[in-house]
């Protein structure tokens, strides 16, 4: 498919377990974002990559959260020692443009379907 693909769609983890969530962005998209969406809330920014560089990780809630995008395409969000408060839908989004665009181009972000993480 041509869209953003996330896997797994659902993940149940026992408290204290480590999890890894995968995002396949749209081919050629420079920017990649991770968002966390709690039940009944709007998505909240976690981190941003331009190609393989993680330029903003200010939204990561703790040092248990780690993200990487080693080759500038697929990204993985890893959560260590999961806690119940980590239960949420994790959304990945990609967009064509990166930083340095001074023109008012369409910077539409395309979202994946998300991974619903439940920590029990």
């Amino acid at each position: 498919g041509a869209g953003v693909s996330q896997s797994p769609r659902y993940k149940v983890a026992k408290r204290g377990q480590d999890v890894a969530l995968r995002c396949d962005p749209i081919s050629g998209h420079v920017s990649l974002f991770w968002y966390q969406q709690a039940l009944g809330q709007g998505p909240e920014f976690l981190t941003y990559f331009q190609n393989e560089a993680q330029l903003d990780k200010s939204g990561l809630p703790s040092d248990r959260f780690f993200a990487e995008r080693p080759e500038g395409s697929v990204s993985t969000l890893k959560i260590q020692r999961t806690q119940q408060e980590d239960s949420a839908v994790y959304l990945c989004a990609s967009s064509l443009v990166g930083i340095g665009w001074r023109l008012r181009l369409n910077t539409e972000a395309f979202f994946g379907q998300g991974t619903r993480l439940t920590v029990v």
Binding site: V4, S31, F33, Y35, G40, Q41, G42, P43, E44, F45, Y48, Q50, L55, D56, G59, L91, A93, S95, V97, G98, I99, W101, R102, L103, R104, T107, E108, A109, F110, F111, G112, Q113, G114
Partner: protein
């Protein structure tokens, strides 16, 4: 700190009616204001977006009204249809000159139900 506030939390309208959702923002550096539509089990999808150099943008049945001085913007859905039933999120970002990507700040969401 909630930088984008959205209301109402839920909205019920009859088929053919007008749905209106409002948002207010705090950061005057925001220069891109999209609305996203989200169906259950799906990711948000861009519906319509506006930049602050215009006061209104219309695409089909969807219109954004933007009031820069009041730091408010709203989504109007004309001739609402049952298929429009979804959760709507307003958002804002800094697009031009941003050095760390156009990260979106979302509102809390409005659950719209259009009755047949």
């Amino acid at each position: 700190q909630q930088q984008v506030k959205q209301s109402p939390q839920s909205l019920i309208v009859q088929k053919g009616g007008i749905s209106i959702i409002n948002c207010a923002y705090e950061n005057t550096a925001f220069d891109y204001f999209p609305w996203y539509q989200q169906f259950p089990g799906k990711g948000p999808a861009l519906l319509i977006a506006i930049r602050p150099d215009v006061s209104e943008k219309k695409e089909g049945r969807f219109t954004i009204s933007f009031n820069k001085s009041a730091k408010q913007f709203s989504l109007h859905i004309m001739d609402s249809q049952p298929g429009d039933s979804a959760t709507y999120f307003c958002a804002a970002s800094i697009e031009v000159g941003e050095t760390s990507g156009s990260r979106l700040t979302f509102g809390e969401g409005t659950q719209l139900t259009v009755n047949p």
